[in-house]
């Protein structure tokens, strides 16, 4: 990048969402380090910026907050601790193993750090990535675009539509319903492939729920006029609507990681990390939703604090593990994270995601045919919610052995 200003910092955090801000706050509080956070949006805070509902802050601040309030608190905490939180600044590529190219209104920069923390979050797969066929009308959104339109730009019903269909029935889908209703849009159906929708819907009645069903086609020229739906039992039909929101189905925003050659885990599609959030590239850490799609904001912030501790050890001279036993998912398991065993992993629980709902499934961890752990889960494992698996067994892993397999079955 000709004309770029070269700078150095101790830790460069990319992404000022809950993970990045929590990491920066702890790092800045811990020592005389120069901590800089880059955020490409106008405001720091990440996804909570546009989540105008409660459910944030209890774990971090001990009080219930809505998303924007939580985002502001996290940003303030990072700045008060001494981190430089810069907004409207985009990391657009790498020019060295620990050097990022940056575009900002103030010009181009090339920032070299002793440690880089990727905290770039996740996004929802849009209609195209889900290969839903049909026409390409207006009125097709993801939750991210919907929430920003309504909550950050005040877009109301006249603009959004009158009858909406929401795809998905997980918490994010419920937030989409609430946002639509708040904007005055009627939600005529929630459609999910799962066998079950939400049990509770707050104090208000849930929208009509279509379980075991898929949207097979979008209809309408110019503006959406309906969605074709087919049930697993073979019945099919059309729901008339002028708005459809594709919710959930997260994919890590792993662009920067991939561009930097940071190895990804095939299951999570995020950077593969060990229990200390160290990626396969020396000096590069990753935390939060970039690791595997969406967990709660509190979980992401928790990982942010976790990565800060690991970064501090790294700055103090801890060696970077050259390898580490890989952890792979098997059976009905879609992914497992973290993806490599290190000595630090013993304390941190693993997260598991199943492909389809399983009632009281059996979890088995093995290495080279040796069973390290076996247990039965209580209740049902759902594809949209992580199962936590304690890491006590990690101490019994042979560091010289083959991959560890986590298998789930019914």
């Amino acid at each position: 990048m000709a004309g770029a200003v070269n700078r150095t910092v101790d830790v460069l955090v990319v992404g000022a969402g809950p993970a990045g801000l929590a990491a920066a706050a702890r790092l800045a509080a811990a020592g005389p380090y120069r901590i800089e956070v880059l955020e490409r949006e106008q405001e720091a805070g990440g996804v909570p910026r546009h989540c105008f509902h409660g459910g944030f802050g209890l774990a971090d601040f001990g009080r219930p907050l809505d998303g924007p309030a939580y985002a502001r608190r996290l940003a303030r905490a990072a700045m008060v601790a001494g981190a430089a939180v810069r907004t409207r600044v985009s990391a657009v590529g790498w020019s060295g193993p620990l050097t990022l190219d940056v575009t900002a209104p103030t010009g181009l920069e090339r920032i070299t750090a002793r440690a880089v923390v990727l905290a770039t979050g996740a996004r929802e797969r849009p209609r195209s990535a889900r290969l839903v066929p049909g026409t390409r009308p207006a009125g097709v959104l993801t939750t991210g675009e919907l929430q920003q339109s309504v909550h950050l730009y005040g877009v109301r019903r006249e603009r959004l539509g009158r009858r909406a269909v929401v795809l998905g029935a997980e918490p994010v889908a419920q937030h989409a319903v609430r946002t639509l209703r708040g904007a005055g849009v009627e939600v005529v159906a929630m459609v999910t492939e799962q066998s079950r929708g939400p049990r509770r819907f707050g104090a208000v009645p849930p929208p009509p729920l279509l379980t075991g069903a898929r949207v097979t086609e979008l209809l309408g020229r110019g503006r959406l006029t309906g969605v074709g739906v087919s049930r697993l039992d073979g019945r099919s039909g059309v729901i008339r609507c002028d708005t459809v929101v594709f919710t959930g189905d997260w994919i890590p925003d792993h662009e920067l990681a991939r561009e930097g050659g940071v190895p990804l885990d095939p299951g999570t599609r995020g950077p593969a990390v060990d229990g200390s959030f160290r990626t396969g590239s020396a000096g590069v850490f990753a935390a939060g939703n970039v690791l595997r799609g969406v967990e709660s904001a509190g979980a992401a912030a928790g990982e942010g604090r976790g990565v800060a501790d690991a970064v501090l050890r790294h700055l103090a001279g801890a060696p970077w593990p050259l390898s580490g036993v890989p952890v792979t998912a098997a059976g009905a398991l879609r992914w497992v994270a973290p993806n490599r065993i290190d000595e630090g992993a013993a304390g941190r629980a693993f997260l598991l995601r199943v492909r389809e709902p399983l009632s009281r499934p059996l979890v088995e961890v093995s290495q080279d045919g040796r069973i390290l752990h076996r247990s039965q889960l209580l209740g049902t494992a759902w594809p949209h919610r992580s199962v936590r698996l304690g890491a006590g067994w990690a101490r019994r892993v042979d560091p010289a052995g083959g991959p560890v397999t986590v298998r789930i079955g019914s």
Binding site: M1, A2, G3, A4, R40, E41, R88, S90, V92, D101, T103, A104, P105, T106, G107, L108, R123, E124, R125, P126, R127, S128, A129, L131, P133, G134, T135, R136, A138, L141, T142, G144, E145, Q148, S149, L152, Y153, V155, E158, R159, T216, E217, L218, R221, G222, R223, I251, E255, R258
Partner: protein, 482 residues
């Protein structure tokens, strides 16, 4: 008009200019603002004529021109001796020059026609011979080993290929827009949202639209998929357009490193097959299907079409299927019952048709334009002395060329180019602002996307959709319904 050239008007609503007084009529009205109509309007703008370009939809290039495979063809496989063969060959040269002059992104990657079975392999020398007859002497047959060295990610079973140097990829959006922009800056009036519903041929012709009547001494039909219907308004029934749908899948830019050339299929008895090619935006394109339909508006994709494409793509480039899909679209080519373009002058009617411009029209567009202007002259239009066109330099949408977000000097002059709004495609606030204030401003978010790439990326608006929409509305555009 000679000296002190006036800039043309761009209208989207309201009454059309009054052309009723004698002498106030347009000299030429070009109907249809696809790549062909825009090229014709630009070519005519070199002359001291009063010209209008009218378009049914709200933007230029809304038809076939926005949804094709975006290849600047050499024309190596055209029917030798046909009008299409000549216009594609000339157009290729003209458009490549025009691209350099105006900043339309072009990447000369070269193509390889990959043979997957013995029959296809046997067809390669015949194709080389056809190319030779079309004036392309640089094709070469590659063995399996050389092919694999050139395209290491090809699936197993590729037996060889015909190399066609000179095949390029181009930005179809910028091409159409550059023509239209230059035409307007050179004095052409552009009337959008202005469908010609009836015609009253005469002296002058009367073209009836919901926004009023346009009078014209000469009319050019560049109506693409509707060229036969428009011909009928002038009493001509020379051909019938059959829409041939092509569905395409756009893969994420991370797929770009999987493919180095344009991977063309070997045409065979079972049709033309699908291609895999990089795009100038850094994506990878897979398609198109070929389905003959009746409905001229059927630009939807289908589950069967997408499944077939994925199956074929997986054979050509297996790793492609592991990448995320950025977009899916479908375009309709204007096939007719004839094996050539249907360009004709009707001197007695003072009317010229440019129809049946099937899947090479983007490439041929500047040559079609020159041909149409000749046909107009042959029909009695006095062209007048040639004069230089107003210069244009288009914003660069191509990945192979410098983009504003990496331009330190530009950002120092104008910090808006340092603020990225669409993160996936790295489109800056400055680019969006400029597009909204450009000569031919977008009438919808889709139009804005074609001018800037904003919202065209992997997130499809998850991050930037609301912001881009707000900028669009602030610029005074209505909520886009189309």
């Amino acid at each position: 008009m000679t000296a002190g050239r006036r800039r043309g008007a761009v209208t989207r609503a309201g009454a059309l200019p009054d052309t009723s007084a004698p002498g106030a009529e347009y000299d030429v009205v070009v109907v249809g603002a696809g790549v062909v109509g825009c090229a014709v309007a630009r070519e005519l703008a070199r002359r001291p004529l009063r010209i209008a370009l009218v378009e049914a939809s709200g933007d230029v290039g809304e038809g076939t021109s926005k949804a094709n495979t975006a290849i600047l063809h050499t024309g190596f496989d055209a029917v030798p001796g046909s009008l299409e063969a000549r216009l594609v060959r000339d157009g290729q040269r003209l458009l490549a020059d025009y691209a350099r002059e105006t900043g339309i992104p072009v990447e000369p990657l070269g193509a390889v026609l990959v043979a997957w079975d013995e029959e296809q392999l046997a067809a390669l020398p015949r194709l080389a011979e056809k190319a030779r007859r079309n004036g392309h002497r640089t094709t070469r047959v590659l063995g399996a080993g050389e092919l694999r060295a050139r395209e290491p990610h090809l699936g197993p079973g590729a037996l060889g290929a015909l190399e066609v140097p000179g095949e390029s990829i181009i930005c179809p959006w910028t091409t159409t827009l550059a023509y239209a922009t230059q035409a307007v800056r050179s004095g052409v009036d552009l009337h959008l949202d202005c469908r010609v519903e009836k015609a009253d041929p005469g002296a002058p012709h009367r073209l009836i639209t919901p926004r009023g009547v346009l009078r014209a001494r000469y009319v050019v039909n560049a109506c693409g998929l509707y060229a036969d219907r428009f011909d009928a308004l002038f009493g001509r029934r020379d051909f019938t357009v059959t829409p041939r749908r092509g569905q395409l899948i756009v893969f994420d830019t991370f797929a770009r490193s999987l493919v180095r050339h344009i991977l063309l299929p070997v045409p065979g008895v079972l049709g033309k097959g699908v291609l895999v090619t990089p795009t100038v935006y850094g994506n990878v394109l897979l398609g198109p299907t070929a389905e003959d339909l009746d409905d001229r508006t059927a630009t939807g994709s289908t589950a069967e079409g997408l499944a077939a494409l994925r199956a074929q793509g997986g054979r050509i480039l297996p790793a492609l299927l592991d990448e995320e899909v950025t977009a899916v679209y479908a375009g309709l080519r204007s096939a007719t019952e004839y094996d050539d373009y249907m360009c004709a002058a009707h001197p007695a009617l003072r009317y010229v048709t440019a129809g049946g411009i099937r899947s090479t029209g983007l490439t041929a567009s500047p040559a079609i334009a020159a041909h149409v202007v000749e046909l107009l002259a042959d029909s009695g239009l006095v062209l007048g002395a040639e004069r230089p066109l107003a210069p244009v330099r288009m914003p660069n949408l191509g990945e192979a060329f410098p983009r504003p977000y990496r331009d330190a000097e530009l950002i120092a002059r104008d910090p808006e180019f340092g603020t990225i709004v669409c993160h996936c495609e790295r489109v800056t606030r400055g680019e969006i602002r400029d597009a909204l204030a450009s000569t031919v401003p977008p009438g919808s978010l889709d139009g804005l996307r074609r001018r800037t790439r904003a919202r065209a990326g992997r997130c499809q608006g998850f991050f930037c959709g609301a912001t881009v929409r707000a900028m669009f509305e602030e610029a005074g555009h209505p909520w886009p319904e189309r």
